[in-house]
Amino acid sequence: MPEPVAPLPRSDGASPQREKAGRHREATLYHALAGAGAGDGRSLAQLREVALRAFERLELPVWRRSGFWTTSLQTLELEALENDVSATAVPDVVRRALPERARAGRIVQSGGSVVEVELDPALAARGVILCSLEQAFELHGELASAWYSKRLPIDRNKLEAANAAFWTGGAFLHVPAGVVIEQPFEIVYAIERPGVAQYGRTLIVGGAASEFKVHEYDLAEDFDGEALHAGAFELYLQDGARCRLAQVQDWGRGEVFDVSTRFVGVGRDAYCHWLPALLGGHLVRQHLELAICEPGGDMAFRGLFFSEEHEHLDLFAVDLHEIGPSGGDVHWRGAATGESRASFEGLIQIDPGAQRTHTYLQIHSMMLSPKARIDAIPSVLVSADDVSASHGGTVGELDEAAIFYMQSRGLDRAAAVRVIVEGFFEPLIAELQDEPLEAVVREKIAAKLAAAREDIEAYATSR
């Protein structure tokens, strides 16, 4: 990994340089973090202090994208929410949602407290660490400090600052050099009741030539009322490390706001396969950045999303190449029902010096109701000349010819629609290469389709 760098001036909608954050009118695409982390040797206490000052100074962010898209947190009553550290048991929603399976370890956070940590003793004996981030600073301070917030900003917007200032619990995973682990680690963030502000914070470091899998679950009970998950996630892969990272997010039917920043840094000859499955939340705004930080790094950045009812989903996925040669392959698929709105921006950014980078971005979307909307915006910023970078995508609706075809074989309309939508997501789901996890994602998509059945019927008859 490169040495930490000083924060760069930014013109993000939530830039700390602006007094009235997000209130400007300029039409702009979102900006990559591009190395703008906080990890520069300051202590945790110092960073918390800086973050707290930023939190107090900044207003809730507003994100505007090219004039036609706004993500606003104006209905979020932040003062009414609290970081609840009273939970002591694994929530029911976690027991219901997670598959029975073999695992390398599991850490569960409910609200602001870690309620379960379990690690295969054989892995602990080989030096694997899985614990709360709080405990990591107590027991493995040097290791945790060296990586903490290295590439995550702490004062860019109010909620990133809130996370950096107020986080409790948290997850820390360190897989030492050369350790290869077949079964996945599970990291779970759950919200059980309204009124909670959850500042989830995950730090993962994969040592040289390590190989491992991480499955994150973000879950909430179906409650009435507001809650917040302001998440910060960082994963660093050292030379030759390989990681398959998947994330299943379903915040249920409550008014859960999810404003998260996630960064994955790929070191020399390392590889990451990252697949977030974003399957629900009242308002979700995520910055997902996958960066090739050293020569020979390679990655597959996959993602799927499904929005329903009145959900608002704002995704900014960055495929960042800081140095070459490097490889990238970004492939996202999304569907929307109800009156949900989803906006996906995929940015390929190739920095000066990232020669011999080859990357491709594709985004496919499917509208399942007349009032649903998906905007997909690919953008490419290239500052090197010996590269290939391109993008493609499709926007689709249900294919009535395909539905009739399946009906003529005995499937009813709802089953036919389900086949089409599942078939649409299937290329990505199959890439999870993990049957229990694939089943979780398939079932969640099927449940959402069943819930939207009337809506989908109405759409068909209206055309």
């Binding site: 395909a402 003529s408 649409f424």
Partner: protein, 258 residues
């Protein structure tokens, strides 16, 4: 009453009337050929029989096994034992042929089919149609050649064991080998399962491999001539124009493929 009985069927699309009083009766175990020039209403009849929403029945009725299915949903007709082999099969990305077949079979059963039973049936159908085993793990019709698509149609027909199948220009666009495989498949399903079939075709070629007992000629939305296999030979000799003159059907029917 025959298994499939079509009475005085009038059908229109948004802009015009296409079928103008079709009568047809097909029993299990019978092979019928329906021939006609482009635009005569052949595909309209096929799609209407399965309940395609773009076609409106304005008069007449369709009975299947004694039930009036004129207003039935497409999947209800299929579950009752009707089958349509499409002229242009649609691709279903993300779903393998085998998985799709399993879903279709289960759609008309109370209990899902046992894995072993399904495999046996599938193997039998594969042998019958001379397709590669790997074929069934490919996504349905996705990237299939024309011949593969038609084979996949017949494979589905073999697995679903309908009482009456409508083959909508299954022969068009096929080379002679593919045509022979498809035709022999139909013939064997007829011989083994007592399949009743309505083979809709523009050409005579497929009828050299499947022998129809009954031949109907459709022009301008009506059946204008009926007979046995000798009608195919006559058509080969004389062409549609000669027949048109003889039956006095309205001229100018070839205005687009309906």
């Amino acid at each position: 009453m025959a298994d499939l009985e079509i009475k005085d069927l009038h059908v229109r699309t948004e802009d015009r009337e296409i079928l103008r009083g079709v009568d047809l009766a097909i029993d299990r175990g019978e092979i019928h050929a329906l021939m006609g020039p482009n635009g005569s209403g052949k595909s309209t009849l096929a799609n209407t029989l399965l309940g395609h929403p773009a076609y409106e029945v304005t008069q007449g009725s369709i009975f299947f096994k004694g039930e009036d299915i004129t207003e039935a949903e497409p999947h209800e007709r299929a579950q009752a034992g009707l089958f349509l082999a499409f002229q242009y099969p649609v691709s279903i990305p993300g779903v393998s042929v085998a998985n799709f077949l399993r879903m279709a079979i289960n759609a008309k059963r109370e209990e899902p089919i046992q894995v072993k039973e399904f495999r046996t049936q599938l193997q039998h159908a594969i042998d019958l149609l001379d397709v590669d085993r790997a074929f069934t793990s490919r996504h349905l019709n996705d990237g299939f050649s024309g011949g593969e698509k038609k084979r996949a149609e017949i494979l589905q027909m073999a697995m679903l064991s309908p009482d009456v199948a409508i083959l909508d220009e299954t022969d068009s666009g096929l080379d002679i080998d593919a045509l022979r495989t498809v035709a022999e498949g139909v013939q064997r399903l007829h011989d083994e399962q007592g399949l009743g079939a309505l083979i809709i075709t523009h050409y005579q070629r497929i009828l050299h491999y499947v022998q129809p007992q009954f031949v109907h000629i459709l022009m301008d939305g009506r059946i204008v001539l009926e007979g046995g296999v000798e009608l195919v030979e006559r058509l080969e000799r004389e062409g549609y124009d000669q027949i048109r003159q003889e039956v006095g059907a309205a001229v100018g029917a070839g205005d687009g493929d309906a």
